[in-house]
């Protein structure tokens, strides 16, 4: 059990700096997701925690001990790799027991620990199989089994679900989360999929281009994104972000579209409204938008509607299956109090 502290971490390759002073804490037993678009440095950060990448500046501490100069095997961590990295020439049993064997544990202890982990993960019937005889999901479980047999202080996951098909991914999401509850160890989970982050993590750390954009509980990031990037990144389908001019309790989005605003902000802004916060209202409702439907996608549970109003494109999400079809003119209204406002210049939240 341990808490992880990242302090002012930087990383450079030669003269190119790819990480610019990232700091955050992971409490003991907490499940933290690192998310961001590809190339944002989340995997590099995880590998620095693991000790697989050198640290250019700042510190990584695990359980109060600075581990910058500590070898990976001495850090008391376990890592689940994106491609699983199972040893192809060893059986499931040997794969899972490898670390214990290296640690010099007795045959009986190894056997016992592997059996317990296999039981938890439902791998008992497969212990004598080779990795190539397993399905993707089973390989994924073996990779996790290899991590949990050691009872490490910290679990590191590097996009472990990205090679699974959609249904299995949802199932493994729940399994990893319940495993986390059961073992109670600190977990850091890297993903580019914000849905994974939202559904699994106690806290999310959003990164972009080597910088931390925002860290907080999933719903806080969803409800109060600190900047336009987080607003657009968290939530699916993504938030509508429309440039406009604010002033006098209103925001002007185009020549003939002005919406009321519960903010006194002025100047160039980005007006944000989530697709699920747009509702259909009768014609003539104050503060409404009339737009033409250009796309309708239905998933059964929800209906995704894309509509256009001059240069403005808006996306809306309905769960009550309104009778809307392509070419219709519809009247939408942002639900009061659920809009977001960002400074167009700094991209920071202003209301």
């Amino acid at each position: 059990m341990a808490q992880v502290t990242i302090h002012d971490l930087t990383k450079s390759y030669g003269t190119t700096q790819v990480m610019h002073g990232v700091s955050f804490d992971v409490a003991d037993g907490e499940f933290v997701a690192l998310v961001g678009p590809s190339g944002c440095g989340k995997s590099t950060l995880l590998r620095m925690i693991a000790g697989l990448e050198d640290i250019s500046g700042g510190t990584v501490s695990i359980g109060g001990r600075v581990v910058n100069e500590v070898e990976p095997k001495e850090r008391d961590i376990a890592m689940v790799f994106q491609n699983y990295a199972l040893y192809p020439h060893m059986s499931v049993r040997e794969n899972m027991g490898f670390s214990l064997k290296l640690r010099g544990e007795s045959r009986a202890d190894i056997e016992k620990n592997v059996a317990i982990a296999a039981e938890i993960l439902g791998l008992t019937p497969y212990l004598d199989r080779m990795p190539k005889q397993l399905s993707g999901g089973q390989r994924q479980r073996v990779a996790m089994g290899r991590a949990i047999v050691r009872h490490p202080a910290v679990f590191l996951f590097d996009e472990p679900l990205s090679n699974l098909d959609a249904a299995l991914r949802v199932q493994m999401r729940a399994e990893i989360r319940s495993l986390h509850e059961r073992l109670g160890s600190t977990s850091i989970f890297v993903t580019h999929d914000q849905v994974e982050a939202m559904t699994m993590a106690d806290r999310i750390v959003v990164m972009r281009a080597g910088r931390l954009e925002q860290a907080g509980p999933p719903l806080e990031l969803y409800d109060r994104p600190q900047n336009a990037f987080v607003a657009g990144f968290i939530g699916s389908p993504a938030m509508n972000l429309l440039p406009g001019q604010a002033g006098g309790g209103q925001v002007r989005l185009s020549a003939d579209l002005t919406l009321p605003l519960d903010s006194t902000a002025t100047g160039s802004v980005l007006y944000g409204i989530r697709p699920e916060h747009l509702e259909l209202v009768p014609t003539g409702t104050p503060g409404s938008i009339i737009a033409k439907v250009v796309v309708v996608e239905s998933t059964g549970t929800a209906m995704f509607v894309g509509c256009k109003l001059a240069e403005i494109t808006l996306h809306a999400l309905f769960t009550d299956r309104p009778p809307v079809k392509r070419g219709d003119m519809i009247v939408l209204r942002p639900r009061p109090g659920l809009s977001h406002l960002f400074d167009a210049e700094t991209q920071m939240r202003i209301g």
Binding site: A50, G51, L52, E71, P72, K73, I77, A78, M79, F81, Q82, N83, Y84, A85, L86, Y87, P88, H89, F98, S99, L102, R103, M130, P131, K132, Q133, L134, G136, R139, R146, R150, N163
Partner: protein, 292 residues
């Protein structure tokens, strides 16, 4: 016949023809050598040539293996003692060159892929570039070097030359084998608590097996067929291999084609045995299951 069936037939015919040509190209000389080794000496130089031995004879093999034999009506000493010594020399130098080359390539190529040190790539290019140096150009300096080191006509000397000649190719091959191997396997082992050397030994080398076997076969065959190097550096039967001994069956007034071909047929047996043996380890798809 439908047009598709006709087309398929034509494709098959072309493939069969290609395979047949390739087989004749590669096995033809061996077959011819076998025929020559079984043909009586006078038939070998007769005007009407046969593609198979009309009156097969073991006399050339008897000459090779027997204690004494008759040549042109005279009783002569058998060549067996020389042949045996040369066969042994060929086996020893080729095996030694193979073992040393594969061992160095296995570790060295890993260093060229996974270790970071200044000038790594330049060094690798320099090593591989030596492949472009024609052997003839270094013969004289190499000879002086070997004399100075007292390594002429020794197993060590010949093996060292072979290793220096075949190592670059082996390094190159093993480097691409390691490059194709996911780094995460090694990282997983480090996190599991293995040292770098233990990881190389227990994780990397077992998975590089097919590559190592390919290197071994390549090196052994190259060493086995060497002529120029032993011609210069193996003057006596202490280290002289078959490739140098067999041409010596040509004497001033008689070329013993039958004996040469019998010796040649015997000479291809050890490499065939080795390749058949190592081929079992050339298992494909060993990496399957490592990832995804």
């Amino acid at each position: 016949m439908t047009p598709r069936a006709t087309k398929r037939l034509a494709t098959n015919a072309a493939l069969t023809l290609g395979a047949a040509l390739l087989l004749i190209w590669s096995l033809g000389p061996i077959y011819w050598s076998l025929v020559a080794s079984l043909t009586p000496p006078n038939a070998l130089i007769s005007d009407n040539l046969h593609l198979w031995p009309v009156t097969p004879t073991w006399e050339h093999y008897a000459k090779l293996f027997g204690a004494t034999s008759t040549s042109q009506g005279n009783q002569v000493q058998s060549v067996w003692p020389q042949f045996r010594a040369a066969l042994l020399n060929s086996i020893i130098t080729s095996l030694a060159a193979t073992i040393v080359t594969v061992a160095i390539a296995a570790v060295g190529a890993w260093a060229f892929v996974r270790l970071k040190f200044p000038g790594r790539d330049a060094l690798f290019i320099a090593v591989v570039a030596t492949l472009a140096v024609p052997g003839f150009t270094v013969l004289i300096p190499l000879y002086r070097l070997m004399i100075a080191a007292g390594l002429i006509d020794t197993y060590t000397g010949v093996t060292l030359i072979y290793v220096s000649a075949f190592l670059p190719l082996a390094l190159w091959l093993m480097r691409s084998v390691y490059q194709a191997m996911p780094l995460s396997l090694e990282e997983a082992a480090w996190i599991d608590g293995a040292s770098k050397f233990y990881t190389l030994l227990r994780i990397v080398l077992p998975l590089a097996g097919p590559g190592l076997v390919a290197c071994a076969i390549l090196t052994f065959l190259s060493a086995w067929g060497q002529f120029m190097i032993p011609l210069v550096f193996s003057p006596s039967l202490a280290t002289k291999p078959l490739t140098v001994l067999i041409p010596e069956f040509v004497t001033r007034n008689y070329v013993d084609y039958g004996l040469m071909n019998a010796a040649g047929i015997i000479a291809i047996v050890p490499p065939i045995i080795l390749v058949l043996f190592l081929n079992r380890f050339l298992v494909q798809g060993l990496m399957a299951g490592a990832s995804k």
